[in-house]
Structures are given as C-alpha cells and as structure tokens.
Symmetry: C2
Subunit: 461 residues, 2 copies
C-alpha cells in the first residue's frame, strides 16, 4: 500500500534541523515514509490525498505521563498538597481496579490522539491494560511498572514489583511491531531505599543490551532535593548516579531543582531531562533550568505529567508554556526558540524513548505523522513562519490527522481505531464506581470544596 | 422574543461569587436575562433549546488588545526587540491603511468570537473601522484612538489626536445600543510629554460625567519603569496620578514593575490593572504582582495584548496562564484560585469597561453568554468542579456558542453575523498588499529568519 500526501506544507528534518517545504509531497509505503520533496514523485501511488492548507509534522511525543490519572482529573484540588495526597489521592488510588485503570488509559489515549500525540511514556499501575487496549488503538507507548519501597529491610531479590517489571519486559518489550516498549522505573529518591536501588540495577543490567531504559522522577520540589542531600549528602541525581542507575539510558522527569553539577553528571551519562511546565507551575514547584540544560547540550524532552496535576494531556499547551515561561523567568525574550521547543516535543522525545525510527519526517522513518490546519482559521493567519505559529498560536484542536506507523488513528474529528462512545461510557462507569457518584458531575462534598489549585500525585503511585 | 435554555450547567452570580447550578434553566427576553434557576420557569417561552452537557457562563472580556495587529502576527519574531521594532514594526505600521486595519479588525473579531470573547478593549489606529464592521458583527467593544506625543513643545490644545479622540467620543460613545464605548487613551509614559498629559486631562475632564474612561500601558518593562523614575523622580503610576490621569476611571495594562506604593495609589484611585500573561512572558517582561494586587483588593482584569506579542487572542490561554504561573513564581500552589481567574476574565473586565450590565449571569443583566462543551470530550471528564475545569483543562475550541445582547454570533463552528470567507479573503489581501507577498505563507527573507521569539509592538502605536 503506497499513499501520497500532496500539496502539503511539510516540516521535514535534515541534519539536526527542521527543513520546511512550503508545498510538497510525502509518500508513505506501508508503515514508513518513502518520499519527501517539493516535486511530485515519479512513482505511482495507490492513493493520493490533498493536504492543501495543512502542515504535516512528526507526531508529538509525551515523555512523561500517568495516563490513567485522568480519572483523578481535578479531584481534591481544593486542598494543600499534603492533605490532598493523604486524604484524597491515596484512598482513591488504593481502591483503583485494573478495570478502572483500563478505562482511564482509554480515556487518556482518546485525549492524546486528538491532540496529536503518537507516542507516550507512562508511569503507573497495571500497564498490561494499556497493552491490551493498544492492540486496537495503535499508539506507541513506553510503559513501566513503577518500583518503590519504604521497607529498609526489603531486598531487590524479593521485590515483587521488580520481578513483575522484568517479567513484563521479557514478555512485552517490542510487542505489537515495536509499538510497545517496556521501560524500568523508580518512582523517586524519596520513595525507595539504597538497598533496593542497588539490587534493582544489578537485576536489570542484563537487559541493557536488549534496550532496557530507566524512567524516574528527579528533583521536582525543593523539599525533595534538600531532604535527599540531608539523607545521603548527595543530590538526587548524584545519588542515583552513585548507585549505577544512570548506567541505563535514563529519562528524568521534572529536574526543577537540579544543580549545575547534577547537569554535568546527567550530560556525561546521557540522561534525558523531561520538562513538565504545566505541572511544575500549577503545583508551585518552580522553573526547571531548561535554557541551561539546552546550552549544555542535554537532550531535553517534554511531557504533560498526569492529568491530576495539569489538568489535561495537551502537548500544544506544554509547547506553548515551554516557549514563553523561561523568557519571562529570565527576562530574556530570545532565550527559547520555537525550533528548540518543537524538537523537545518530537525528535528529542523519540530518542528518549529509544525509538530511533521516529520523531522526525525523513525517508525511511516510520510514518508517525500529524496534520495541522493552517488555513481558514482566524488564529493561524498570517503564517509567515509555520514553526513559530505551531508553538505560539496553534491549538490542539487544529490537529486534523494523527497517524502511527502509516495507520490513521484520527482524522477530522473522527477516531478510526477507538470507539469513543464506549471509551466515554467506560470512563463514566469507572468514575462512578470509584467515587460512588451518579454521574460525572457529582461527587461527595469532601472531594471538592472551595476549589483551590495545587495538587500533586507523584508520591501516590 | 423569549428564549429558554434548558438542562444546562449554569455559572450564575450571587453576591460577589459564582453560584453553580448543576442542571438549570436560563431565560432570555430580548437582549437580557429574565430567569435563572434550577426549576423550569412557569412562564411560556417562544423557543426552547437543550443545553445538556454544556455549561453557560458569562462571555469573556478581553480587556487589553490591539486587534488589527493580527496582521502582524509573528512578523519579525526572529529579532531582538529594538531591531524588530525599528526595522520591522515601524515600517509596516507606517504604511498600514484604514482598509488593511479594517481587515485586521475583522480577522481579530472572528478569532475572538469563536473563543468566547463577547467584549474587548482595543487600543489602536482607525477605530472607526471596527465601529463600522460591528454594525453587522455585533460584539461589544471599548475603543480608543491612542494619544502619544514626542514633541516637548506640542500643546494639548493643538493635538489632533486628542481632538479626534474627543470627536469620536462625542459621536460614537454608547452607539449601537451601548455596544460601542469610546475610551480615552495614553500610549505610555515614555511616549508622551507632561505638558500634553496635563492638557489632555483638562480637555477630557468634562466628559467624565458622560462615562469617559482612560486606557494606558503601565510599567511593562523594568527599563520603562526605571527610566521614568530617572526622568520624573516618580514611577509611571505616581507620575500619571500626579498629573490627574487617575481622576478618570483608568485601565492600566501590564503593571509588571509596579511598586507596593504604586498599588496603594491605584487602589485609592480605583485603577484597574490588566494582566497580560502571554505577552509579559513571551517578551521577557516578567511576572506582574497579581496575587499582591488581588490581596490588596485591586480589581484585576485580563487581556491578550496584540497578536504580535502573544501570538493569538485566546482568553482561555490567558486564564490558564494566570492560574498557574504565579503558583510557580511564588512556589505556592494555592496562591491563585480558579474562581479568581474566572472573575478576572468576566465580571472584573465588565467593571473595567464601565459596563455594569454585563460580566455575570444574573437576572436583569444583558445576555452576553457563552456555552462550553462539558460532555463527550475526553479532556473534560470527569468534571467534579466545573470552574476548575474551565481554567485548567478547557480549550477555546470547547466554546460552542457565543451570544451578545441575546443575539447568537457563533454556534457549533458557524458564524451567524460574519462572513468568514470574506473576512479571510480580505485579511489575505491586506497581508499581501502590506508585505508584497503572493500568499499568506510567503514573505521577504528579511521579515523572517532564524526565528527567535521576543517581539513587542507597544511603542509602535
């Protein structure tokens, strides 16, 4: 099957930069890109579609997510962090069933597909539910079964979470033609012991040659960063490094409070920082030193975090925030470029996920492509510089096609691999059973209230 | 004509707070709200419409805009501020014609209507073009002909801009059944002389009793604020106050660098600060002390600024930013509440505009109402707290109806008072004639380039 997308603006990739083709052709053969150019290809194609007024670009990669937490969207956001966590999040999460998590994953995938996400990295419970759903839905995902331990006597050999992670890796890594990847994961420094980390690293080291990677939370809050230094005389980054964690290719979410020495360690070890601007701002965590990371050459990626601390999974919002908040914080209007932000949301994310066959539009790469409306929408005119427009003006609702491995998942408001009625119905059922409410708009008084922002979910996994 | 909107969530207003009706009825008689309640009204209505799964709320009020600058969206955003301003903005704006400005205004109104804006305050040239357009379109707008002067010998009596402003006030204030209001305006401290300000205030003082109001830029950048002190030994706020400007009800855009003493002056004089978070961040201006203003009791409103420094006119984005950036900056996750941000975008804006008959859903107020999708959209489920959802999760594309004075301007993607084909065609023509380009996607090399953010348009008016 060969498809030709004609008359499109194409955000292609050449060397290490975007190359914009104003009016071009993109050919797809089966699951891969077989042609990109300004001229009509000479080969014949089975199908041709007109993309006039639309831009084709690589699918967005959401590198840090707790997808099923869409079920907790907005819950308890009236409370300060500690009360919210212990009074609201923990009790709800403690009773989450696999069925509910599955419903949450489907709802999250529905949201992400429509907003142009082709691949995401998830850290939550019951990852098998996402794998099962994805047989039909067809996204790409790096999944983890998160590891944490509060028992100083627990040994890695006895950790069921580690054993389950390894079993999951062995059975599912590279499943579904590589759409599924299994990563290893540590929740955070403050939810694990040194003994477990050492043993965990040793247990998973044999899988390094098979593509094992690590995903963790790092220096999100000042308290976390400071208390780690008090406990270990090392920052979280230096502590993880000292225990061999960074010997695996590691994706580190947040990195708000990392020091310059931390960044040097991370650069040396090839750690990928993941910027989560909505979550860091909403929770009052602070401003991650993203411009410094980029200056040093770190490969920064972008993520939404879970919906409970965001409160959506909208990568266009994250791109917009990443492009402007550092200008404001450093009082320097040219400290972040739109190109850099777009790289964070695409090619950097693909590399972080260990997916060298996606993240950019190049011949030979997988056809993980989205189309964005650039005509007939008032907020997209004029569009002198399309990259600038994507970051500063475009909305997730401008996405008009989402394709993964050459398969269209979403087009012009319609989902082709997902039954939206079922997903919404299942989500409503899950919400009802989880909270004991009659519909999506009612909840016990204790679960909402005077409505203050400021919630966090990370310690709850 | 009496219309009943049935089965809606309604964000009503009571005392000084929102009151949410989960499933209610809203009646409209001609241009005003005649009923709000949980129970079906006993009166008969000419028409009934079902709003199941939708939320009715007051229209958003964009309190600081340079609407026609949509024609300059993204232009020159590769350059540092000074070069951009002198090499790109000034030459373009110097050759703007009334016809082009009219096309820009229509494009901006098309964008704002679809994103739920019912009223905006504008500061630009050729306001008559917006008045003429609005006879068909039907928004509300506070327009100004901006005053500036660089000649120390110019006197207010001789200022054609002041004379034109007064003439505009006399002929158009409260035109179109009050939809049009004319405000007076001073561009900024750094673009006007003391002599002109004193004379201007005296010339417009007689119009105070007829509803004259003032709209200006205040302490946007540290440089502006510092240089004013060097020039006048007063901050911009104190300087304007010393010259009698604040004797008029005044709307002050930005207020990034205002001091605590400035805020006390502004509170005493009833000055309304306007928060423009996208612009302040993108341009690297900094973080306006919004939480402090709110604590002190100042009536803070919200605006988009012009599209050249944003780059869109999306009040949902501004609400989102206003709700999270101060949490991050002050490292306090509960410093801004969603309710406060929603007030800034609605009732505070109405008061700033001198429109006491709008800005909230109450019986007797004008039917300036928008409807927002709350069902069948993955990112809006669950919606335990709808106010929280509006600010943290909703998108401008969730707006499914925009009504002004009981007239529907936009519904389910269709414009009822605006010919979108004509607006887009006129905008493209204006862009072509302005820049000498063949279509909206081409421009001379010198007008784009390596694409760096960081542009400002304020001194260019």
């Amino acid at each position: 099957m060969k498809r030709l997308f004609a008359n499109a603006m194409i955000l292609a990739w050449e060397g290490e930069n975007f190359r914009l083709i104003r009016n071009g052709y993109l050919g797809i053969e089966n699951d891969s890109i077989c042609y990109i150019g300004s001229d009509r290809p000479v080969e014949t194609y089975d199908e041709e579609r007109d993309f006039s007024g639309k831009l084709l670009m690589p699918g967005l990669i959401n590198c840090h997510c707790h997808a099923a937490m869409v079920l907790l969207r907005g819950v308890g956001s009236d409370l300060p962090l500690d009360r919210w966590l212990y009074e609201e999040m923990f009790p709800v999460e403690a009773r989450l069933t696999a069925e509910q998590i599955s419903a949450g994953n489907a709802l999250a995938m529905m949201e992400m597909i429509a907003s142009g996400v082709t691949s995401f990295s998830d850290m939550y419970m019951e990852p098998e539910t996402a794998i099962l759903l994805n047989k039909d839905i067809g996204m790409k995902m790096n999944l983890t079964r998160v590891v944490q331990s509060f028992d100083p006597n627990e040994r890695a050999e006895d950790s069921s979470r580690i054993s389950e992670s390894i079993a999951l890796f062995e059975s599912q890594h590279n499943a579904q033609n590589g759409k599924i990847r299994i990563d290893f994961s540590i929740h955070a420094e403050y939810t694990i012991t040194e003994c477990i980390v050492r043993g965990y690293v040793e247990r998973i080291r044999p899988y390094l040659s098979k593509g094992a990677r690590m995903h963790l939370h790092l220096s999100e809050t000042e308290k976390e960063h400071r208390e780690c230094i008090e406990r270990h005389r090392l920052t979280p980054a230096q502590w993880f490094d000292s225990l061999g964690v960074f010997d695996l290719p590691t994706a580190a979410a947040y990195c708000v409070w990392v020091t310059e020495e931390d960044l040097r360690v991370m650069l040396r070890k090839g750690v990928y920082p993941i910027h989560n601007p909505s979550s860091n701002l909403k929770l009052g965590s602070g401003f991650a030193p993203i411009p410094k990371m980029l200056d040093m050459g770190l490969m920064v990626a972008l993520g939404t975090d879970g919906a409970a601390s965001n409160n959506n999974l909208n990568m266009f919002e994250e791109m917009h925030l990443a492009s402007i908040i550092h200008n404001g914080y450093h009082r320097n209007p040219v400290i972040m470029t739109p190109e850099t932000v777009l790289k964070m949301a695409t090619i950097h994310g693909a590399r972080l996920q260990g997916r060298n066959d996606t993240g950019s539009l190049e011949v030979g790469k997988k056809a993980d492509i989205i189309a964005v409306h650039f005509s007939d929408r008032a907020h997209m005119l004029p569009a002198f510089d399309p990259i600038n427009m994507l970051v500063y003006s475009a909305q997730s609702s401008d996405v008009c096609m989402t394709m993964v491995d050459g398969q269209i998942l979403y087009e012009n408001g319609k989902y082709l691999t997902l039954d939206t009625d079922k997903v919404l119905k299942d989500a409503r059922c899950a919400i009802q059973s989880l909270y004991g409410i009659k519909n999506g708009f009612r909840i016990r008084r204790k679960l909402h209230g005077t409505c203050r922002s400021g919630i966090s979910v990370h310690a709850s996994i």
